[in-house]
Subunit: 158 residues, 2 copies
């Protein structure tokens, strides 16, 4: 349906809150109360985020979760990757052969891959730091966690 899953949405909510207090440890229960979601659900989300090294966990009494790195180094794309089941891609034919065997060499596929690229870059270009203090409309410092192309901030202005 061209939507991110609810769990991914929850993930951004939780992480955005955590980004307001980096380094601080939050228990899953506390975060659930703060964000207004069920504790088991938030737990589930945090466990997935932990597996993908977006949060680090401290076990035992007085344990909890904290961001594993500064908010500017966590992009929305990374959150999506952590919480969506399937690999990134708007179409199935990006991954598997599909039914388009008739078309000599599916010309469409290349186009979808380009579109995917644009979408992905859009998600990579927004960091948790941006989520906390929204981007100034005109320009803003990008997330750019790993090694990215130029910012698209200028494009996403209204």
């Amino acid at each position: 349906m061209l939507r991110i899953s609810k769990l991914t949405d929850y993930g951004t909510l939780v992480l955005t809150h955590m980004a307001s207090f980096p380094d601080r440890l939050f228990s899953a229960t506390d975060l659930a109360a703060i964000v207004g979601l069920g504790a088991p659900t938030v737990s589930k989300v945090l466990k997935s985020l932990g597996r993908h090294d977006l949060v680090r966990s401290v076990r035992g009494l007085h344990g909890g979760y904290a961001l594993s790195r500064p908010p500017a180094q966590i992009s929305v794309a990374q959150i999506v990757d952590a919480l969506e089941e399937q690999p990134f891609g708007l179409t199935e034919c990006s991954a598997s052969a599909g039914t388009c065997d008739f078309e000599s060499d599916c010309r469409i596929r290349a186009n979808w891959q380009r579109i995917n690229g644009v979408v992905r870059r859009a998600l990579e270009d927004v960091s948790l730091a941006d989520m906390v203090s929204p981007l100034p409309v005109a320009q803003a410092g990008g997330a750019r966690p790993i090694a990215g192309p130029q910012s698209i901030k200028g494009r996403i202005a209204p």
Copy 2:
């Protein structure tokens, strides 16, 4: 799951084939055979596309479907709008209030709307004409059906 639905995928397949022969009339049955899908399924897709004026239909014997305008004036965004059930938007909170009432004034929402804008523009910038003869990597004539911003073609190069 951040994917377009299969029906939308089928829609691009069918329309791309039709775009190779604009003005020509195709029966749903023929298109199904060409593309390699079930006839009822292709029918369903074409009916939806017709309701959104992407194809025009001719009823009666020797009837069929044809593009309602030149391929360059039909964008992928329009296909998505025609075949996806829900209104365009990566998050639910783009439309309804949601559970984030706790957060004083969901700062996240504005960011999602900007991301949506980028994604949407990416889909608007690819036309059926582009699908038929894939974009040259460097630059290419955009779809720009209605009144769009500048092209993003430069961005989606590999």
